[in-house]
């Protein structure tokens, strides 16, 4: 009996030694979660969706690993810690890249917006110079209507800029510029035609 008790005590000590050594890496979890939470923005989804998925997948893998270790008799959080560190580092890198990428796209959008505005102003200027003769009056009004439609659409470009949807802003601004330039060309052609009539 004394012998059995001795062995049981030994087993208890051994279990205590192995199981008690590893503690859940709460600090690592919290700091990784805080970093990962910052990439859950709409912007990140818009500009670097694959990077967001990678970060989330790594975090999920870390959480799964923690779950595994939690229920284990002999806990070992080293792999979970590695994954948490990776998720944190990737999230931080993503944020740095995102900021740079957003800034770049924002600058492109601003340039496209200005270019679209300039194209409309150029077309309007040409219309002002066009002779208001009987023959060209209807053409001028038609072009004015076209430009009014394009000017209205500039509001949508600004709205896209305001909501940080810079790609949509670029898309619309470029389309406006294209149409405004086409109008300028038509106005020039109409002016030449009127010139011929005189």
């Amino acid at each position: 009996m004394k012998g059995i008790m001795k062995y049981l005590a030994l087993i208890m000590v051994t279990i205590f030694l192995f199981a008690g050594c590893a503690k859940e890496p709460t600090e690592d979890i919290n700091s990784a979660k805080a970093a990962v939470d910052t990439v859950k923005s709409e912007d990140a989804q818009k500009y670097v969706p694959e990077d967001v998925k990678n970060v989330n997948d790594t975090m999920q893998a870390a959480e799964d690993e923690i779950k595994v270790q939690k229920d284990k008799l002999f806990k070992d959080y080293s792999k979970a810690k590695e994954l948490l560190a990776k998720a944190k580092a990737d999230a931080e890198a993503l944020n740095t890249n995102l900021a740079a990428k957003k800034e770049e796209v924002k600058n492109n959008a601003t340039a496209a917006q200005e270019s679209a505005k300039y194209s409309i102003e150029e077309a309007k200027g040409l219309l002002e110079q066009a002779p208001k003769g009987k023959g060209s009056m209807a053409d001028i009004e038609a072009f004015k209507a076209d430009l009014k439609g394009l000017e209205d659409s500039l509001v949508e470009v600004q709205a896209a800029m305001d909501s940080s949807d810079y790609n949509a802003a670029i898309e619309k601004a470029n389309a406006i510029k294209e149409k405004a330039t086409a109008i300028s060309d038509q106005v020039k052609a109409a002016m030449e035609k009127v010139g011929e009539l005189k």
Partner: protein
Amino acid sequence: MIKKTIIKILIFSLVIFLTGCRDKQIPPELQMVEKQEINLWRSGAQIYAPVEYSSYKISFGNVKELLIKEKSRFAWFQDYQKVQSELRNILIEGNLLQNIISDNKKNMNDKVFNEISLAKNRIDTIKGLTEMINEGRLARKNLIKAELLLSEAIIRYNNNDYNTAEKKLNNLSGFIKASENAILPILNRYSDRNHIKKWQKMVEETIAQSKKMGIPAIIVNKSERTLVLYKSGVPAWTYIVGIGRNGSLDKQRAGDNSTPEGKYRIIKKKSESRYHKALLLNYPNEEDRKNFILAKKNGLIPAKSGIGGLIEIHGGGKNSMTYGCIAMDNSKIDHVFNIVSVGTPVTIVGAVDYNNKLSSAIEGL
């Protein structure tokens, strides 16, 4: 004795460590499913097969739970057979899902392509109509917005972003409808059989008069933009002409820029005009005055508006858009000017054929 016990502890610990702490190998299918899941995501599963992808993710999540449970066990008791079997099922589910995504993408591609073609055709048709009837304000303003959205939709389509392309195409249909609404009231007259019958009768009477009296007569067809000069009831010369900015409408009042429809005659020949040479017509005639009074009475025109006048056939170029007059090239007006005289009948109609340019164009809408 103590030494023996310590040795026993060490041996016992070692045995436990070597056998109990070394996990069994995770089924290789796990990595395959993980890779498959990323590929499905990259293929746009969340867009093109959201329900199936969600079901796939749930299945994968359940297997992961099962895996976690097994991994948590003491190595001696770990059994991944069920996990492996489930993972294989998921791989099959994923392959089927990939096929669904491909099919749905192809369908979307075809659908959006057709929608782009339809929208482009409709825009081109309406644009053509606005040019034919000189309707350049409300219709054009909406039309250019539709054109912008079409350009954006095409960019999205080319980038395989069919969902956004379709949203943009849906948005542009409102602008197309608004454009149509702006031009249809003008165009509908040209497919109205009663209107056309009335115009045909006017033309027949004018030609008969020309034939009977052996005099020249002029027929202006607004839908065809032609002026036909008849000699003794026989069409002798046909010219292309320009009409009023709102020339497709019948003139109702001063300043509406419409070209009047009716039977007129030349009341003055102006050899010196701002527009080279001009033939002044007797607009408004008796019927115009009746219609003007009726339109005013019915509130169709502003109460203070005047009936207008000084409608001419003049030079200045066939491509001109006028305040309501009929414009032609200077060399052509020279010729007409020499043949006609004061009193020559001039009949202006919208169309003489049931299938005229404008009625055919409406069918394209």
